[in-house]
């Protein structure tokens, strides 16, 4: 160890667990052969001794009792505010919890409510230039969803939700007829309304009576398709004379939605 490194270590020679044992030993060895560094150790130890004397001289010094009195008075003065703040916090937490519970309940109710039926793009295409705008169709589809749900309300809901679009076509023909195999209690979910052209023979496959004279005559109809892809109900729009449609309705196996 040289004098420079000795000076870097000299203030830590008497400090516990700071210097490595090897560094300490070499510093002591250096001080034995270097007079200047030996004096430096002496001065440093005198400084340590002086600092300890100062620490001892101050060790019983404390703040006056007046400070404690004032602080305790201030503590008492702040106590109500501190407790008030705590109570306010508790109320805020309770209120937040109540809001969360209400929001959760509302969300569950919303989840169980029927989702609006989406309009199928094919419906617009099939209806041609005279097709009604999408919002009107959506309104009609929502009414259909309610028509298909509880049987007791079926007719009433359908009548209440007469669509504004295509009045000339849907005027008296806006009742949906449940398909024979459709499960009316199954949720419609995000179902679709699709306008199709069917031959009367196809209607026969669905369980409707078919005229033997004109089996290939096309019939335009709106078909409600549930979220599961199963057709639930049909509404005849055109392609059949009103009288024939009335006859068709009268002959359906389960004439749930038909008007009297």
């Amino acid at each position: 160890m040289n004098c420079t490194s000795f000076r870097e270590a000299v203030h830590e020679l008497d400090r516990d667990d700071v210097l490595d044992a090897a560094v300490y030993d070499s510093a002591v060895e250096h001080a034995q052969i270097c007079t200047r560094c030996a004096r430096l150790i002496y001065q440093t130890r005198r400084l340590d001794s002086s600092l300890r004397a100062l620490a001892r001289a101050d060790e019983h010094r404390e703040a006056s009792p007046r400070v404690q009195t004032q602080l305790l008075r201030a503590f008492r003065a702040h106590a109500p505010a501190r407790q008030g703040g705590w109570h306010a916090l508790r109320w805020a937490v309770a209120a937040a919890a109540a809001v969360l519970i209400l929001a959760g309940g509302a969300f569950l109710v919303w989840r169980r409510a029927p989702a609006p039926v989406r309009s199928h793009p094919a419906a617009h295409a099939a209806s041609g230039p005279a097709a009604s705008p999408a919002p009107s169709k959506t309104t009609a589809m929502e009414s259909l969803a309610s028509t298909l749900r509880p049987k007791a309300h079926a007719g009433r809901s359908a009548r209440a939700a007469k669509p504004a679009a295509q009045p000339e076509e849907l005027d008296d023909l806006s009742e949906f007829i449940s398909l024979p195999y459709a499960d009316d209690d199954a949720p419609l979910g995000a179902g679709e309304l699709v306008r199709v052209r069917l031959s009367e023979s196809a209607l026969g496959l669905l369980g409707f009576p078919v005229s033997e004279e004109t089996p290939a005559q096309p019939v335009t109809a709106d078909v409600v398709i549930g979220e599961d892809g199963v057709a639930r109900a049909i509404r005849f729009v055109s392609g059949a004379a009103p009288s024939e449609l009335a006859q068709l309705r009268a002959m359906t196996p389960d004439n749930k939605g038909a008007k009297p």
Binding site: L51, A55, A57, A74
Partner: protein
């Protein structure tokens, strides 16, 4: 204490007011100012007890840190020498106490040493002063002092080293050295610098 337990606060105050007061006194050299600083530090705890987070470190470090902030504000606002007369008078009072003891000369010398060391510490720049006060007078480890000063351990180490070099130099000029030491010390001071 957070729940408003006055006994707990009183206990906390009794436990820490002494060290904090001495720290403030040794940093400012003014007993009145030191009391104000201690009071302000505990008022901080009264006003916002949740400012202390035990996960960030021990209570000692937190209290010393709060006290140090107040000290630095006061030191910046006032000269540390303002309190020296009061401190010197206080040390003079201690002279009288010490004079009644048996070893008069030794006690007088000790009291003189205390006075000189205090004066030398107060004349240090604040960054060096706090390193000496915390590590040498309050016997903190480098790590504990680093926690209070919010700086790396290496910084504490180098500041303390520099502070002690400065103290040695100041005490050589202030103190009458014993025979045989005086000449060598004055020569040595050149070497240390």
């Amino acid at each position: 204490m957070i729940a408003g337990d006055e006994q707990a606060f009183a206990e906390l105050y009794r436990r820490w007011q002494g060290p904090l007061y001495r720290f403030a006194l040794q940093m400012t050299g003014n007993a009145g100012l030191a009391e104000e600083i201690v009071q302000e530090a505990f008022m901080t705890l009264i006003r916002a007890p949740r400012t202390y987070n035990s996960s960030r470190g021990p209570l000692r470090g937190f209290l010393y840190g709060v006290c140090r902030n107040h000290v630095l504000r006061c030191v910046a606002a006032e000269s540390p020498y303002l309190g020296l007369a009061e401190t010197a008078a206080d040390d003079g009072h201690r002279f009288a106490e010490l004079a009644t003891s048996s070893n008069l000369l030794a006690d007088l010398a000790a009291a003189q040493t205390v006075k000189q060391v205090r004066k030398a510490i107060l004349s240090l720049p604040a960054t060096y002063r706090e390193a000496v006060v915390l590590c040498d007078l309050h016997e903190m480890t480098y790590e504990q002092a680093a926690g209070v000063l919010k700086c790396p351990v290496g910084t504490v180490r180098s500041r303390l080293h520099r502070a002690r070099d400065l103290l040695l130099a100041k005490l050589r000029t202030l103190a009458p050295h014993p025979a045989g030491v005086s000449a060598t010390a004055s020569n040595e001071s050149e070497g240390i610098r």
